[in-house]
């Protein structure tokens, strides 16, 4: 009989009438990597949060190593050697990275009444060393770190408690190619017989799940539909179980040709942001999807803010060719029917405490005003918000629902819809499918294909090479904050060839 580390019996979590988890029975063997597959809002994160003590079950029981387990809070879970990396970014910006790693456990480093800062730093460095994690800067404040480095820091924080059971909730979505490789190696080592760790992994990247996980449980509407060893699933079957209907296996573009119109929409010349980007030049054509990819910290996520005019000390020219207009900032971009969706939708994209309707209407104010005094028309606001909500199939209790309470995929739909309801000419999408499930992903790719057909130019910045290859006409490959190459879909889209340019 398998050595069961964690077992749940009739576990339920209800929020009022909403059954986030309903009668979950699960057994996770030691050394397993159990993937939780399910659509956004299927209850994966709720289950993870109960195991790590953030939320308490409404009913049912959990057992850890055969003993009844009911963590009262995350520290209690940590004391049982259970740790978690949260789906949303989880660092305190104004504090330094080392303090962030030991938040809630600083008492451990007490020397008399004082906390030993050098002791904390030493242990932080030892944790990175022990688990062979990519080293991130441990000085300065965490708020200044890139999203990717923050995620690595969160992983280090989870490992600093010496966990035996680790929950990774959507961690890889924030990581680029090389850090994903680091993560996969870590998972292999952590679950090896020498270490004896067990992992519960939540990811929307089904290819990754099939490759990394030993077992998969499928959740739908808060219930476990199926649990089996990964080898017993096919990709199509997994998708069907998750969604409850057939989903086309090939949701990327089917063609292999670089296809777009000859008209240039944006001309970027010598774009430079000191320390972030160096001398980037390219033309973006009507109906083109221009992918931007590269290794972590190669500078790909600096491209969006720089183009949109959010980076300070930006140099170079960005010209909107149809009007021969120099674009200096967000206002110019919006006036020329451009849009930008940042990678960090919670911090830079959405107003989390505002309603869906408010989030949709704010970027569209110029379309919603009327009369010489530019009064906002409530009728127009409602009409536009309703249209966006219906077109993008946003699951909510209504336009008044606060965005913070939506699932990750629905948040991203709001984020996309607020811009895409406009008649755009070009759009910059930075990781548009981060943290969304397969259904939403397919939907977003469908929207991108429709936009391309309409002649809208798209810059797709992506950490996922298959996504960038699957959707782009050309790939701008970056390395060390510079342009390392421009590859064509027709001739150059071979994974090894792209990685060679990245390296």
């Amino acid at each position: 009989m398998a050595d069961i580390v964690l077992k749940t019996e009739h576990l339920c979590k209800f929020f009022g009438a909403t059954k986030a988890n309903n009668d979950l029975n699960l057994e996770i063997p030691r050394g397993a990597v159990l993937g939780l597959a399910g659509e956004n809002g299927s209850g994966k994160s709720t289950l993870a949060s109960m195991i790590c003590g953030i939320q308490k079950p409404t009913s049912g029981k959990m057992y850890l190593n055969g003993q009844e387990y009911a963590p009262s809070n995350p520290v209690d879970a940590n004391e049982h050697h259970v740790a978690m990396v949260l789906q949303e970014l989880g660092v305190v910006g104004p504090l330094d990275p080392v303090t962030n790693m030991f938040l809630g456990r600083t008492g451990k480093f007490k020397s008399g009444p004082l906390v030993s800062l050098s002791g904390m730093k030493k242990e932080a460095e030892a944790t990175f060393e022990k688990w062979n994690l990519t080293k991130v800067p441990l000085t300065g404040v965490a708020g200044n770190m890139s999203i990717e480095n923050r995620k690595v820091l969160e992983l280090a924080r989870a490992l600093s408690i010496d966990p035996k059971f680790l929950i990774l909730d959507e961690i890889s979505q924030a990581l680029s190619h090389d850090n994903r490789k680091m993560l996969y190696k870590f998972i292999e080592h952590f679950t090896s017989p020498e270490v004896g760790g067990t992992i519960l992994m939540v990811t929307h990247d089904l290819e990754e799940m099939m490759e990394i996980c030993t077992h998969i449980s499928v959740l739908r509407d808060g219930q476990i539909i199926d649990t089996r060893p990964t080898s017993e699933y096919s990709m199509d079957e997994l998708k069907r179980l998750m969604i409850g209907r057939e989903v086309s296996g090939d949701y990327y573009r089917a063609d292999r040709e670089e296809m777009y119109q000859q008209d240039v929409v944006l001309k970027v010349e010598h774009l430079t942001v000191p320390g972030e980007l160096n001398d980037i030049s390219f033309d973006l054509h009507k109906g083109e999807i221009l992918g931007v990819c590269g290794l972590s910290d190669g500078g790909i996520h600096s491209v969006g803010p720089a183009l949109f005019g959010l980076s300070e000390h930006r140099k170079g020219n960005i010209i909107y060719v149809p009007a021969n207009r120099q674009l200096k900032g967000p206002k110019d971009m919006i006036q020329t029917n451009g849009a930008y969706l940042s990678k960090d939708r919670d911090a830079d994209g959405l107003m989390l405490d505002a309603s869906i309707g408010q989030n949709i209407s704010v970027p569209n104010v110029r379309l919603l005003t009327q009369g010489p005094l530019k009064f906002l028309s409530p009728a127009r606001v409602n009409k536009l918000a309703n249209k966006a909500s219906v077109d993008f199939e946003i699951k909510s209790s209504g336009l008044g629902q606060v965005v913070k309470s939506l699932s990750g995929g629905n948040k991203q739909k709001v984020n996309l819809s607020r811009w895409l309801v406009q008649d755009l000419e070009y759009v910059i999408l930075d990781c548009p499918t981060r943290g969304v499930d397969i259904g939403v992903k397919a939907y977003i790719y469908g929207v991108m294909k429709q936009m391309k057909e309409k002649g809208i130019a798209i810059i797709l910045i992506s950490d996922e090479l298959p996504e960038a290859m699957g959707m782009s006409d050309r790939l701008l490959v970056m390395k060390d904050h510079e342009m390392a190459g421009m590859l064509s879909r027709t001739t150059d889209f071979i994974e090894d060839k792209i990685i060679e340019v990245m390296l």
């Binding site: 003590g53 953030i54 809070n73 995350p74 520290v75 209690d76 940590n78 949260l86 989880g90 660092v91 305190v92 910006g93 104004p94 504090l95 303090t99 938040l103 809630g104 456990r105 600083t106 008492g107 007490k110 009444p113 004082l114 906390v115 800062l117 062979n132 994690l133 990519t134 080293k135 991130v136 800067p137 000085t139 300065g140 404040v141 965490a142 708020g143 200044n144 770190m145 890139s146 990717e148 480095n149 924080r157 680091m182 942001v273 000191p274 320390g275 972030e276 972590s296 910290d297 600096s302 300070e312 911090a347 060390d480 904050h481």
Partner: protein
Amino acid sequence: MTKTATKQGFTSKPLFKQILLLVLLIVLIVIMHLITGGKMLSMKNITKNILPQAVFPTVVAWGMMFIFGTGLVDLSIGAQVILGANIGAILAMDAGLGYVGLIIAPFIVIVICELMVVFCSEFLKIPGWIAGLGCGLIFEAIMVMWTQARSKTAGSAVITLGDDLRVLGRWPVNVIIMVVIFVIVYLIYNRTSIGINLKAIGGDPGVSSAVGINRRKALIIAAIIGAVIVGAAAILNISKAGSISASSGLASLSTIFKALAVTLIAMSLNSWISEPVGALGAGIFVSSLFNFLTIMGVQAGTLQEVILGAVVIICGVLARLNYKGVAK
């Protein structure tokens, strides 16, 4: 396998920035000194004016750091200072308790007042600044009623400390006390779990709860420590001034205006320098600035405050130039 450190656009240079700030502070003070024709940095002016006048706003700012640091913007602190200091003076003079009354009463009164604000904010679920303003009006009203009653019974509304009870407000005792408070504040704020937890809940309550920090407990502890420090400031202030008049209609806010400016400067520079050190530097700078303006004949109450406001804004802008996170 050896891995290389990842590159970041922002490179933290805390030591360089700290030295830069210190040099900037010294240069500014020296420039002011030269403009005043060598009057400002005379030993007499430093010991009689600049340092003693820096004590109250700096110590209050340290107290505010603990309270504001948790995310509770409490604007009743001025009213608490007036109430605490006056009750201390009443017990010292009218009740004849001397230093025992003068020292103990402000601590107890201000801790109780601060906990009232915390409980109003936490349990009635109203924003801290609203709870603070509401409680501030109550604290002011209590003091006004008390002094009105006193004026009928004792003939004077204002309680004045006797000379023998004003030692704590005199040079160099007040500055020595400030230095001692600085050391304690620095250690608690930067080197204890209490300080780390309060900064965490102020920085991101959600993340703090997710890592197991008891937000309410951390908030109450921080409020008590902050109130004790403000209590010390109230004792130093009434010892220096001899008396503090009651105020109404939130006029007590003006009592802590300089302290608010010092707190804002220290908080705006927190990515460069630890807040307690920043508040000490800012307190000395603000005191020097006002002293400079007074020597130059600039009118107090209008232009002096305009210049101070501009300094606060400049510090905020400078400190946020390279910060990618959310500026609070």
